[in-house]
Assembly symmetry: C2
Homo-oligomer: 195 residues x 2
């Protein structure tokens, strides 16, 4: 059994992560080098790259797990529920499963104020966005005219993520004082309510 290895690996990952996030917050992402993180975390540069494939993964590495959770949650919503409501439910679950709010806020700020990081983050997200499309498509086709369900599903997923992104940016801008789910609802309402 590799239990000990796994456990010490977890500890190491957490220690590196804490060091990295602290340094990023102190001196900015671009100004912090891998060498410095490795030194302060007491690990070799080479091993750091084995834990985290890239520097960006230090910030947005665990997005994959959240993407998986989102997909599963949306799938498990009752069959009658609309695609929009199912996605909204999934978003809610991911929110509660995420980092503690303080840390999430710190990470969000870092991502939003570092253009290259933000772009990478969105790019990663786009990958699991694609996996969500078939799940959403399964909830369409009820309406009378349902032209090009694939196009429809992609557009819906893309829009939901655009709103999540916008809401998160506003949330970080307000230092987390406004409820994130409320902001998301406002964004979606601005888009879907015809004026």
């Amino acid at each position: 059994m590799t239990t000990l290895w796994e456990r010490s690996r977890q500890v190491a990952v957490q220690a590196i992560l804490d060091t990295a996030v602290r340094l990023f917050a102190e001196q900015g992402y671009e100004q912090t080098t891998i060498a410095q993180i490795a030194r302060e975390a007491g690990i070799s540069q080479r091993s750091l790259f084995r834990y985290f494939g890239t520097k960006e993964d230090l910030v947005c590495g665990d997005q994959e797990a959240l993407g998986e959770l989102l997909k599963r949650t949306v799938e498990q919503q009752p069959a009658g529920m609309s695609a929009w409501d199912a996605l909204r439910a999934g978003f809610e679950v991911v929110l509660t499963a995420n980092h503690p709010p303080e840390r999430a806020l710190e990470l969000s700020r870092l991502i939003f104020e570092t253009p290259s990081l933000r772009a990478r983050y969105i790019e990663k997200r786009l990958r699991w966005q694609a996996e969500l499309v078939p799940v959403v498509r399964a909830r369409l086709g009820n309406g009378p005219g349902h032209p090009a369900p694939d196009t429809q599903a992609r557009a819906i997923v893309a829009t939901v993520f655009a709103c999540i992104d916008t809401a998160t940016e506003l949330w970080a801008g307000h230092d987390g004082r406004i409820d994130l789910a409320d902001l998301y609802d406002q964004c979606l309402a601005a888009v879907r309510n015809h004026g």
Copy 2:
């Protein structure tokens, strides 16, 4: 007058661009090095970096000009026009001002299949998005209840770009056989038409 300089610069830029895009198409983006492009274009590596700040700019470098055009076009739409229609008009203008379709298709495919390129592209797009928000906000406030116009404007802009992105990806996937503007309209309809 720096006319001669400007002109020879234009020529040089085009020659480098052609070389780069050809090599990217032949052997892929990651597999092509700056050294190779410089060598085949008959220019020093140092100068190449002066023409194009980064390797990514060889592919999505002229996006800035399009962003400017988009913003100006949206601004100049008649005052009564809704934000959605103004953005749609801007999109249309950008489409016609873009590369010839064949080249645009090649570039789009390259961007969508190369993660680092796509990230860079997103990063650039996020910048115009931010600049468009005040322009769009100026077209709101007409409705009866207009809560948080900033949130509203951001959500609208983000959604429009999400639909542009989705439409472009579908367009590239269909080898440009389906009209891009039509795809965009379908995406937006899927989002805004309550079912």
